[in-house]
C-alpha cells in the first residue's frame, strides 16, 4: 500500500520537469524524500497503535512473562466503561479542560487585543509574557508545589497580602475544593501566552482598510468589535482552542508533578489514571483498552471540531 502511494506521487509528477532531469529521476526523489518520514511514522506511531489495539483484547501483563496470553474479547472495554472511578477521572479531565480553555481564551484574547494597540515597548512585554511556556511542564509542576505551600509559598503569601486571610489557613493542593483550581491556575499561567500569540496573529491579519470603511459609516467601537474584529479573529481563536484542547486532554507531566492526582482522586486526570494502570499496576491489556478509548475520544472530538473550524473559515 505504501509503495503504490509513493508510485502515485511519482507518477503525478509533471513529465515536462522529469524529462529534464539528469541523475536521479523525480520518481526516485519522491521515493527518497517521502519514504523515510512515512516509514518512521508507521514504525513509531501506527505500528504501536495497531499493537495497542491487539493487546486491548488480551489479558497480557508486561510483568508476567510466564502467564498464558488469552484473548478475552471486549472484557477490558466493558470493565473500563462500567467503572465509576474512570468516569470520575473523565469528569476531572473535563473540568480541567473546560476551565483552562475558558480562562486562557478570555485572558489570552484580551491581552492580544491590548497589545495590538501598539503601545511603546509592546514587543518587549510580549516576549516577557511568553516566557512561562518555554519551561518544562514537569519542572513547572514540581516548583509550584513549593509556591503553593501554605506557610512558605509565594502564592499563599500573595493571596494573603491581597485579601488579608492568613496564608496558612488554606492549602491549594491539600483541599478537595481548591485542588482542581490549583491545576487550572498553573496551566493557565503557563499557556495563556500561547492563546495570546495566536490571537495576536489573527488581529494583525485584519486589514486596516476594513476599519476605515466602518468609521466612514460611523459604526461605534462596540459595533466594530462585534462585526469586524471578533468574526475575523474567530478562526484563529478556534485554532488555539483546538491545540490547547488536544494538549490538555493528554495532560500528564504538569499535574502528576503538582498533585500526583490527589487529594484522593480529585485531580486524577485520565492520563494519570492510565499511567497507573499501565506502568504501576502493569495491567497491559486493560491499559491498552483504556488507551484506545482515549485516543478514539480525542480523535473523534478533534475531527468534529476541525469540520466546524473549516466551516467558520469558509464564511
Amino acid at each position: 500500500m505504501l509503495q503504490s502511494q509513493i508510485d502515485r506521487i511519482a507518477r503525478a509528477t509533471p513529465p515536462a520537469l522529469a524529462a529534464r532531469v539528469r541523475g536521479l529521476s523525480d520518481r526516485a526523489i519522491a521515493w527518497l524524500f517521502v519514504a523515510p518520514s512515512i516509514l518512521l511514522l508507521l514504525a513509531i506511531n501506527i505500528f504501536p497503535l495497531i499493537w495497542t489495539i491487539r493487546l486491548s483484547f488480551t489479558n497480557y501483563r508486561v510483568n508476567r512473562p510466564n502467564q498464558a496470553l488469552e484473548f478475552i474479547g471486549l472484557q477490558n472495554y466493558t470493565r473500563i466503561l462500567t467503572d465509576s472511578d474512570i468516569w470520575l477521572s473523565m469528569q476531572a479531565t473535563a473540568h480541567f479542560l473546560i476551565w483552562t480553555i475558558a480562562l486562557q481564551v478570555l485572558i489570552g484574547f484580551s491581552l492580544a487585543y491590548l497589545i495590538n494597540k501598539k503601545f511603546r515597548g509592546n514587543n518587549l512585554w510580549t516576549t516577557i509574557i511568553v516566557l512561562p511556556m518555554m519551561l518544562s511542564p514537569a519542572v513547572v509542576g514540581n516548583f509550584w508545589t513549593f509556591l503553593y505551600q501554605p506557610q512558605i509559598g509565594l502564592f499563599n503569601y500573595a493571596v494573603s497580602f491581597v485579601s488579608g486571610i492568613s496564608p496558612s489557613s488554606f492549602s491549594m493542593i491539600g483541599s478537595t475544593t481548591l485542588a482542581p483550581w490549583a491545576i487550572v491556575i498553573v496551566d493557565t499561567w503557563m499557556w495563556t501566552p500561547f492563546v495570546m500569540l495566536i490571537c495576536l496573529a489573527g488581529l494583525r491579519s485584519i486589514p486596516t482598510s476594513i476599519y476605515e470603511a466602518a468609521e466612514c459609516d460611523r459604526a461605534s467601537n462596540w459595533r466594530q468589535f462585534w462585526t469586524i474584529t471578533f468574526p475575523m479573529v474567530l478562526p484563529f481563536l478556534m485554532l488555539a482552542v483546538l491545540f490547547r484542547g488536544i494538549e490538555n486532554f493528554k495532560m500528564f507531566d504538569l499535574v502528576v508533578q503538582l498533585t500526583g492526582g490527589g487529594p484522593g482522586s480529585i485531580t486524577e486526570l485520565t492520563s494519570i489514571n492510565l499511567k497507573r494502570a499501565a506502568f504501576e499496576q502493569w495491567r497491559t491489556g486493560y491499559a491498552s483498552a483504556y488507551a484506545v478509548i482515549l485516543f478514539v475520544t480525542v480523535f473523534g472530538l478533534a475531527s468534529i471540531y476541525v469540520k466546524a473550524l473549516n466551516k467558520v473559515k469558509q464564511r
Binding site: G23, V34, A138, I198, E215
Partner: protein, 313 residues
C-alpha cells in the same frame, strides 16, 4: 466623524492598554522571577516564613545542583582541615562535605544530545517530505497531511505501552538512539506542516531556472530551495527543540540510568533532608537558558511555529 481611527489608537487608549499589559506581565513573571531568585538563596532562606524577598545571595544552590554531599560529625570535619576550594567552603558551613559530582551534568548532556539529535533528524526528514508534498502533485495530499497531524493527538502514555515493549525487544530502552527516534516521530508532524508552508512560498520558477541551467533536481533542491528556506528551517528547528528539550512522559517511562534527560531528573533533586529547592530552582534556571535565548532571537517566527504553519505572515 470620530477624532481617532481604530487603525491608529489614541494616546489615551495606548496608555491604558500598555498599563494593563505591563501589569499582567509583572504578575505573570513573578513565579518565574521567584524560580530564578530561589536559585540564589540559601536552603534556610528558601523556606523562610514569611517568604524572603530580600536575602543574601549565594551560589549554594548551584553547588548543590552539581555535587553530591554527605553529612559529617563536627569532630571529623575539624580533622579534615580547612576547605580547599571555594565550593568546599560554601557547603562546609552546613556541616557537609562534597563526595562527588551529581548526575545533573550527565542528564543535561543527555538532553543536549537527544534534543539536538532529534531536531537535526527531524529537520532532515521533514524538509525532504515537505519538499515532496509541496512540489509534486500528491494524490490524497490532504488526507496524508491530516494523517501526519493526527499522530500528534495520541496521548503519549497511550502509545508508550507498545513502544515500551518494542524498545525492550530491540534493545532501545534507555538509549540515546531510542529517544531520538521517538522524539523525531512525535515532532515530524510539526516539522512537515511548518516546512511545507515555508517551501510553498518559494517560487517554483527559481528551481525551473536552475533545471534549465543544467542542475539536476537534487542539486536544484539543495542549492536553490534550501538556502531560500533557511529561516523557515531555523524556526522549525526551535520548535522541535523546545518539545524534545522539555518532554517528560516518554523520558520518565523509557529511560533510567544512561539516557535520562533533565526534566525527569530536576524534580527528584533532594538535599540532605527534603527537597532542595535552591538546587531545583538552579537546575530549572540553567535548563531554561538555552530555550529562552532562542525564543528571544526568533520571536518573529514564534507565531508560525505554534500554529503548525496555519498562520501566514
Amino acid at each position: 466623524m470620530s477624532s481617532y481611527s481604530v487603525a491608529e489608537p489614541s494616546g489615551a487608549q495606548k496608555l491604558v492598554a500598555g498599563a494593563l499589559v505591563i501589569l499582567y506581565a509583572c504578575i505573570t513573571s513573578l513565579p518565574l522571577l521567584w524560580i530564578i531568585a530561589t536559585g540564589f538563596k540559601s536552603p534556610s532562606d528558601a523556606i523562610a516564613y514569611p517568604p524572603k524577598v530580600i536575602f543574601e545571595p549565594t551560589v549554594e544552590g548551584y553547588v548543590n545542583l552539581f555535587t553530591t554531599r554527605t553529612r559529617m560529625p563536627q569532630e571529623q570535619l575539624d580533622a579534615l582541615g580547612p576547605p580547599q576550594t571555594w565550593y568546599d567552603k560554601i557547603v562546609r558551613k552546613d556541616g557537609v562535605i562534597i563526595t562527588g559530582a551529581s548526575r545533573f551534568a550527565g542528564r543535561f548532556y543527555n538532553s543536549v544530545i537527544i534534543g539536538f539529535g532529534s531536531t537535526a533528524l527531524c529537520i532532515v526528514l521533514g524538509t525532504a517530505a515537505a519538499y515532496a508534498f509541496s512540489r509534486f502533485k500528491v494524490p490524497f495530499k490532504d488526507d496524508l497531511l491530516f494523517f501526519i497531524l493526527s499522530t500528534r493527538m495520541m496521548p503519549p502514555i497511550a502509545v508508550a505501552i507498545p513502544i515500551f515493549l518494542m524498545f525492550r525487544q530491540l534493545g532501545l530502552s534507555d538509549t540515546h538512539a531510542g529517544l531520538i527516534l521517538l522524539y523525531t516521530a512525535v515532532n515530524l508532524s510539526l516539522s512537515v506542516w511548518l516546512l511545507k508552508g515555508f517551501i510553498d512560498e518559494i517560487p517554483v520558477e527559481y528551481e525551473e531556472a536552475a533545471l534549465i541551467d543544467g542542475y539536476t533536481r537534487f542539486q536544484a533542491f539543495y542549492k536553490v530551495v534550501l538556502p531560500q528556506a533557511a529561516t523557515g528551517i531555523a524556526s522549525t528547528a526551535i520548535f522541535c527543540l523546545i518539545f524534545a528539550w522539555n518532554e517528560y512522559a516518554f523520558a520518565v517511562l523509557l529511560t533510567s540510568g544512561t539516557a535520562q534527560t533533565a526534566p525527569p531528573f530536576i524534580p527528584t533533586i533532594i538535599g540532605v533532608s527534603g527537597q532542595d529547592w535552591p538546587a531545583v530552582a538552579a537546575g530549572a534556571t540553567i535548563f531554561l537558558v538555552p530555550v529562552m535565548v532562542f525564543t528571544i532571537l526568533l520571536r518573529k517566527h514564534l507565531l508560525r511555529g505554534i500554529t503548525f504553519g496555519a498562520v501566514r505572515k
